[in-house]
Symmetry: C2
Subunit: 136 residues, 2 copies
Amino acid sequence: MAVQADHALRDAGLRATRQRRTVLAALRDRSDAVTAQDLHGELRAAGEPVGLTTVYRTLTALADADFLDVFVREGEQAFRLCGDQHHHHLVCEVCGKVEELEADQVEQWVREVAGRRGYQVTGHRADIFGVCGECS
Amino acid sequence: MAVQADHALRDAGLRATRQRRTVLAALRDRSDAVTAQDLHGELRAAGEPVGLTTVYRTLTALADADFLDVFVREGEQAFRLCGDQHHHHLVCEVCGKVEELEADQVEQWVREVAGRRGYQVTGHRADIFGVCGECS
DNA sequence: CTGCCGATGAACATCGTTGTCATCTAGTGC
DNA sequence: GCACTAGATGACAACGATGTTCATCGGCAG
C-alpha cells in the first residue's frame, strides 16, 4: 500500500515523503470530504507531526493532479480522494458521505446543449445533494 | 424600472434604499457574474457612494432571497441576477457570459439516481463550462 | 409629519488560506 | 553506502474575504 501511495505521488510529480503518505493514507480511510484544517487537526491528534502548511500544499497538489475532488462549502474547501475517471457526485448533507456516479445521460445533455448553442465544452459538473437512507 | 426594483426588494423583505437600487441596477446591466469587491469598485468609480459592507450585505441578502446565483471561483464568490425558476448554467470561460438552461433530462436523472440509492433529494446543480461561439 | 426600526458604513475582528525563508530530506549519481 | 541538490517542510507572517460593532441615517407605516 505504501508502495501504491508512492507510485501515485510519483505519477503526480511529487516526492514520496512521510507527510504526504500520511495525508494520502488518511484520505483513503474515509468516504466523506475533509477540510485541510480538520485533517491537520486529526493527524496531529493521532500523533502524526505534520505542519498545517504542508497539509494545505499536499491537498492542493493532489487536487491539481486530479487525485482529489474539491468541494466548497461555507467558504472553505473540502477534499476527497476520487477515482481517476470523470464522474459526478451524490452527497449526503447530514453525514457528509459522497458517492461517485457515472451519468451517460448527463454527458449526452452536455454535448447536446453545447452543440446547439455553439459552445466548445471545456468541462462540466453535476452533483446531487440529499439525505442518504441511513440518515433519514 | 425603479418601481420594479422596489417590488423585487419588497418581496425579499428588504427596504428599497438608494444603495440597493444601485446594486440591483448594476446587476441588471450584465450577464456575467461579479464579485462584491469588483462591484463595489465599479460603483465607487461610477460616483455612487456605497460602502463595501453594504455591497456584501446586499448581495448576500439578494442571494438568500434567490434573486441571485452564486458562483465560487478562486476562493471568492461572484453573484449574478437570475431567473426565479430552477435552472442550470452554460458559462463561457473567456468572456464570463452566463446562459441559463432548463434541463428536464437532468431533473429526471437526479430523481432516478436518488431514488435508486435511497436518497431524499434536497438539491442539485449542473453547470457546463466552455467557450462560446464569439470567443472561439 | 413623526417615530421606529431596519439599513448604512467606517473601523475593527476573524478566519481560511497562501507566502516567506531557513532548514531538512528524498532520491539520484557516484 | 555517501554526498549532493532540488524539492519539501513547518513556524510564522501576511493577505484577502467576510463577520461584527456601533453610531448615525433614512424608509415607510401610521
